[in-house]
Amino acid sequence: MNSEVTELRRAFPIFAAVPPPFHYLDNAATAQICHSAAEALHAFETRGRANVKRGVYRLADAATAAFEEARTAVAAYLGTDDPSEIAFTSGTTMGLNLAAHVLSPRLGPGRAILVSELEHHSNIVPWQMAAERTGAELRVAPVDEEGRLLVDRLEALLDERVAVVAIAHVSNVTGILVDVARVGAAARAVGALLVVDGAQRVPHGPFDVRALGCDLYAFSGHKMFAATGAGAIWIRRELAEELPPFLGGGEMIARVSFAGTTYARPPHRFEAGTPAIGPVLALGAAARWLLTLNWQTVRRREEALTARLLDGLAALPAIRILGPRDIRDRFGIVAFEVAGLHAHDVCQLLDGFGVCTRGGHHCAQPLMDRFGTVASVRASLAPYNDEADVDALLTGLEVISRKFR
C-alpha cells in the first residue's frame, strides 16, 4: 500500500475496527468519519454537553464558542472569512429544501425554475414541490449520452422568467464536474439566482465558493468525513439578509408575540431549534483537518486511481460504464452495469470480496432513464482508497461475471 495512504488511513477509525478484506468504495453514499471529527463529536456529547446560543455557565459558554468556531472553520473551507454566510442544516437535502422554501416568494405563475437531468432527487423533488406550491414552471436542462450537462441547451432555456437555477456541482453517478461558473454567469445575465448542490464536491477539497458565482451552496457533513446529522448551506451575505426564514422555532427569532414575530439576522434566522451540536462540531473539526491535507497530491492520486478503475472496467467484457470513460473534469465516482446481472446481486457478491459498493438508481432516476437503465453499481473513491481497493473490485467483478452470468 502507498505509504501516504497508509498514513491517511490511520486518521480514520473504521480501518482499525473492520477486519480485512475491507475495500470501502461507497464514499459517495457516505464517507468514513475522520478521527478529529469523531473525537469532536464524542467529546462534546460525553464530556461537554450543553445547549448553545443562550447559556452562560462555562459548559454552555464553551459549547457556544465551539459551535461558532465550527462555523468559522466551515467558512474557511469554502474560502470565505464571513462565518455568518454559513447556516447549519441537517444535510444537503435539508439545505436544498430550505433553498426551495426561502426562494419561493420569488416564484409563482409566469416564473420558472431550471434544473438539470443529472440531478440527485434531493435537487429535483424540492423544486417540483416548489413549482406545484407556487405555480412556477419547472424546466429541465438535458445531458448528453455520457451524462455531461449540455450547457448550451441550458443557456437556451434561460430567459427572464427563470428565477432560480438549481444544479449539482458534481454528479453523484458519473463524478462529472459541472461548469458552475459558466452556469452562474448565464443565470446572472437573466437575473436568476443559482443554487448549487455541492454534496459530491465538498469531499474533494477546499475551494472558493464566491468564485463560483452562485448564491446558495448546500452540502452534507457525512460525505465530507464528519458525522451523520449535520450539513451546511452557504448563502451569499447580501442575499441572506433579504431572505425570509424557513423553519420556525427557538433561536431563529428576535421577538415572538401573538401580535407578530420578528426574526433574527442570518445565519441564526435559518437555524431553528436546537441544532445538531455534536455533528456540527464534527463538521468543523473535519473542515479544519481537511484544510491541513495537501490537496494537489490527493487529487493527483484520485485521478490516477480513477483512471485505473476506468481502464480496468473497460477491460472486462461484460461491463458497461455509465458516463465518460476518461478522467477529464470528473471526480472518482464511476457507475457501471454488469450485463445479465442485477446491480443488487453484483453488490452483494462483491461484498463477498470485502468490497463495498452501492447498487440502485442512486437517487437519480431521471439520469438512469437517460442512460436507459434502472439500476447500476457505483464505486466512489476517497483519499483513503488505494490500488488494492480498486483491484479488489476488478478481481471481484471478473470472478462474478464469470461465475454468475
Binding site: H342, A343, H344, D345, Q348, L349, H361, A375
Partner: protein, 140 residues
C-alpha cells in the same frame, strides 16, 4: 452468512429455471407489485378453478433472489387453495425473521440464508406478496 450461502446452487438454479415466466391467456386475476427501494417489479397472473389455483404466470424484473422467489411461487402455488397460497407469504416472513415454524414448506427453506441480510428480505417477499394479493382478490 457469506455471499456463497446466499447465492447457493439451488437459488441460482431456481432463478435460471424461469419457472412460470410468461403470461396467461384468457380470463385471470392480474396484479402488479414493485419494490420501491430498488425498482424491481413483478406482474403476476392467476387463474382459479374449483377453488384451486390452476394457472400462474409472471413477468418479473428483479435480482436473482426475486427471480428465484418468483420461480418458486410458480412451482408451489399450482393446486393450492387461495388460503394456502396466502399462507405462503407468512411462512416466508417467519423464515426471514429467523423463526420458521414446523409447518413451513421445506421448499421455502432455500431462502433461509437470506434471513441474515435484512436489506434483501423484500427481494424474496415481492413474488410471495404478489401471489397473496392475487389469491385474495381471486377469492373475493
Amino acid at each position: 452468512m457469506t455471499a456463497a450461502d446466499l447465492y447457493n446452487d439451488r437459488i441460482l438454479a431456481l432463478a435460471r429455471s424461469r419457472t412460470g415466466a410468461g403470461q396467461l391467456e384468457g380470463p385471470c386475476v392480474r396484479v402488479s407489485r414493485d419494490n420501491p427501494l430498488c425498482g424491481d417489479r413483478i406482474s403476476l397472473d392467476l387463474r382459479l378453478e374449483g377453488g384451486r389455483i390452476v394457472g400462474l404466470a409472471h413477468r418479473t424484473r428483479g435480482c436473482l433472489l426475486t427471480e428465484a422467489a418468483a420461480a418458486l411461487v410458480a412451482q408451489l402455488a399450482l393446486g393450492m387453495t387461495p388460503g394456502e397460497a396466502q399462507a405462503l407469504v407468512r411462512h416466508v416472513q417467519d423464515l426471514l425473521a429467523g423463526r420458521p415454524c414446523a409447518s413451513t414448506p421445506g421448499e421455502l427453506r432455500v431462502f433461509a440464508p437470506v434471513a441474515a441480510v435484512k436489506s434483501r428480505h423484500d427481494c424474496v417477499l415481492l413474488p410471495f406478496a404478489a401471489l397473496a394479493e392475487a389469491a385474495a382478490s381471486a377469492n373475493a
